[in-house]
Amino acid sequence: MIHGKKDRILFLPMALLVAVTTLFPLVWALIISFFRYSAYDPSPVFVAFNNFLRVFRDEGLVLSLNLTVLWSLMKSSAEILISFLLAVRLRHSGRASQRVMLLLGIGWFFPAYISVSAWRALVQGYAGHSVLSSIFGTGIDITTQPLAAFFVTLFVAVWLSVPLSTIIIVGMLQRVSSDLDDNMRIDGINDLNAAAVLFGQVRSILVPYAFFQLARSLKEFSVPFLMSGSGPLIPGGFTPDTIVGSTTFMSILLFRKFSVTDNYGILASYSVIVGTLVFGWLVAALFSRLDAPKRHVRLLTLASVVHLLLGVFSGNYLAGLVMSFLYLVPLLLLREREHFRPIVGCILLADLLYAVAAFASRGLEGLPAASLLAVPAVLLSMRYSLRIPNISIGSLTKRLLTFLALLPTVVIFSYVLLLSFSPISDVLPRFKGLGLSSFRHVLIRDSLWLNMLNSIWIALLAIGLVALCVFPFAYSHAFRQRRITTVLLSVALFGTSFAGMHTLLPLYMVFDHIRLLNSFIGVALVVATQCIPLSAISLIAFFRGLPREFRELFLLEGSSETSYFFKVALPLSLPIIGGIATYVFVSAWGAFTAPLLFIDRIELMPYSLKIFSYVGEIGSYYSRWNLFAAASIIGIVPLLIFYKRSLRFIYSESLKERGVMYE
């Protein structure tokens, strides 16, 4: 147990970070949800619950919510599955694995604007032809076909998410002892079963991470927005309050709401709904790391609450009440293990059947979003055993599958490279007149390297802030959940779930007051705050999984908790830390809105803003594709260098200690 005043030092930095960047903006935005505050109002006008009434009568929001949950579940499931299988393949440190990891990272490092445009060229094509249509004779048009827009956006989002998840899972798999491989070989366990065994070894950190990714997907914006905007209209989507296309996910809906009304009050009230749902799934991520029966109690209760709230919200009162009640029934049978697990299984099956029937009869409007969230949460909590066939996959097949996983990255990289050598600005690469003029333009004429230096500063500061604030906090919370650390974590998680333009205005006021505007540290603080959920959830789960004996022995010898944290816990966490550091670096490198709003001085402009001068204002400017591509190629160099260094931590030998038994 952690106790005593000295260990307050472990969570105080996090408290300070949350106090500065989250608390006031959160409270301000919650209050403003009861006001009208548009561009035409000199000061906020109290409207009581009018904004919320508007939210509750918005049929489009229900459609968007159902669409978002369906898409997010599909996206995060595919992402975790593919990433896990790739991670199993790449978990052993070797030159080949590291090369594959590097190549995987490249696809992630390109700005979404250019990689999404590349995907559009591949799938839909410009000028009437696309790679897909040429090879397969497809006639995909994501501007007119709702299903095409939905699935293409899903595919691209999964592809862009796989690198980060693979890195994180490779880091998780480093805690598995190499003795296990020998034992599995001796027992004749083949590939699929081996993957299942490895899953069992890391499930306590992988499942929370999967929930985190699901929560994050609920707020996905860049990929769907750049790929297809709101998407073609879906049946019933032309509602008076909101127009819902096949990719009008909740984040895009919020963006459109703000664009149309410029009303912070409306945006804040919509964000309460969206934020609550995202927060609920971040909480599920934390609950999933607990031991049974606490885990079961909390997740069943969460499932019940979600069914009740979303049932009421979507107008399915009876179904919501019934399902909510059903999920509470097993709580009466917690001690009767032989009945408890089958009954929960039956409830899950009933919920699934209900979801299928509702979707079949009423389409997207009838889809119960609560079921799509409750079923995976409770299923993963129950840890039912599944019989996996003991199949071996041939080495050639494995190589082919790995190659297929990397092929899109190779294609996208080649596309961007060709664009960067092109003498003219066209979204389709040319093969004639190639040269280096674009590189000269961006590096020398535009001095892009200065902006890159600014971004490097911001990234290093953000990593430092995460290390200083989140790492010790996660350690402290992993071993003792004080009320203060639980509140702190809840505020941080809800703050990031709820964040948007409506929280940027009050944050701006805070930064102005404490003179953090026009500074790298200001932007780094925003980036660090946005990285709290992934960092905290992954690290809390990881620290909980460390052998208790290490800590007990260390403390028995008279050393302090803080000393154990720095000398033992942190070094053992290097693989996860490597993944988190890469995530923070990439987030800082691509940060756009915070520097756009908080920096007014040209010498402080980061790389992310500078390269968007080549994109321009959509609709009244033509993107300079060759310059943007050249800038993108140059921009991935620091990311690759940092990533390569991080791989050393991810594959850190310090964890491969023989004879160490993990949970």
Binding site: P42, Y126, S230, I243, I424, L504, L596, G616, E617, Y621
Partner: protein, 376 residues
């Protein structure tokens, strides 16, 4: 001349009296603005900090509320409403404007609110027709006299009979291009300034323009596809923004700028979209006036090479003769951001569902009207 002005300025207005002038810009001309700022500094000693902002409307929205604003900001005409509502812009008197150049009442009106001028007009972009002259016979463009139709375009004699070359294309689903057609058919807004989706204007325009695509007269292509085809010499005529012209010049395309074609007996105006400088600091008015005066002096080459209509002069330079022809029939979008957003979102949806025949024109426009009423 410049040297004399500089000498007078440096004596009358010593640089030490002023901190740096801050200027926010966007769209084209980033290097040009930096160059002008450096030259102005050199001549007058007045420091100018130019900041190029990629999403200036987003930044401006926040800055208008917080009050952290530059001395001057380049804005779009549709931002006039929110700028006026903020109360932060310095109203400009006619003498101030007259000292900078000649501004027509039409150019000033889009930057006005309640009788006050809130910005100094700088340049305008137009939606125009681009004709690829290398794909048609040399005498073909002369056949497109004023009042030409799409059928006239289809009949243009080609240099080669290439089935891969498209005659006419634009994006039917673009609400911005479609606005021109609406304006050609009648009133676009109702008495409240809201889009009048349920009016006959909208129904007729959607129906008749849709027919052009359904009959195969015009091909629907997205913007990037149009530009790529035009650059590759596979598209004879398209409708797009005049800001694309410098790209075509760089690519060596032999092109001509034309007004919008007629549709039946309807004359279709081009949308004109203006940019102007808003002044936020009253105390900097004099150095701002000096800077803008210098900027306008230096900007004619910038305007002509970027195919922009200079709004501070009475007569357009001869290099922009094609754009002058387009200027004979123009229309402006209402300078209300609400109109832009509501119209843009709803109209795009109407055009999309009508194009794929997912909804009837009547039903689509009724739904759009309900959307507008709910969100206005």
């Amino acid at each position: 001349m410049r040297g004399i002005v500089a000498a007078i300025l440096s004596v009358v207005f010593p640089a030490v009296l002023f901190s740096a002038l801050t200027v926010w810009v966007s769209w084209e001309g980033e290097e040009f603005f930096y160059k002008v700022a450096r030259e102005f500094e050199r001549l007058t000693g007045i420091e100018v900090e130019v900041l190029y902002v990629p999403r200036i409307d987003t930044k401006l929205q926040l800055s208008l509320r917080t009050g952290h604003l530059p001395d001057i900001c380049l804005v779009q005409d549709v931002s006039t409403g929110i700028i006026a509502a903020s109360g932060r812009a310095v109203p400009l008197d006619p003498e101030f404007l007259a000292s900078l150049g000649y501004f027509s009442e039409d150019a000033l009106s889009v930057f006005s609110s309640n009788g006050k001028y809130l910005a100094v007009p700088f340049y305008a972009d137009l939606q125009v027709g681009f004709l690829n002259r290398s794909l048609v016979k040399p005498d073909a463009p002369s056949q497109l006299m004023s009042g030409y139709t799409i059928e006239d375009l289809k009949k243009l004699p080609r240099v080669k009979d290439d089935k891969d070359v498209i005659s006419v294309a634009w994006d039917f689903m673009s609400p911005y291009v479609f606005f021109s057609f609406l304006a050609g058919y009648g009133e676009v807004t109702d008495s409240r300034g809201m889009p009048a989706f349920s009016s006959d204007t909208y129904a007729s325009a959607v129906s008749e323009v849709r027919e052009l695509f359904a009959s195969g007269t015009v091909l629907r292509l997205e913007r990037q596809a149009m530009v790529s085809r035009f650059l590759a010499g596979k598209l004879i005529f398209m409708l797009q923004g005049s800001f694309l012209a410098p790209e075509f010049e760089r690519a060596g395309i032999d092109f001509q700028i034309l007004p919008f074609p007629r549709v039946g007996d309807k004359s279709i105006p081009s949308v004109i979209d203006s940019k102007g400088f808003v002044i936020f600091d009253e105390k900097s008015l004099e150095p701002v006036r000096l800077f803008l005066s210098f900027l306008f002096e230096e900007s004619m080459d910038f305007a002509t090479s970027n195919y922009k209509i200079p709004l501070w002069v009475q007569e357009l330079p001869v290099e922009l003769v094609d754009l002058e022809r387009v200027m004979e029939n123009v229309v402006r979008m209402p300078s209300d951001m609400r109109f832009q957003q509501i119209y843009g979102e709803a109209m795009r949806t109407v055009l999309q569902v009508v194009y794929v025949q997912a909804m009837s024109i009547d039903d689509a426009l009724k739904s759009a009207q309900a959307f507008a009423e709910s969100n206005w």
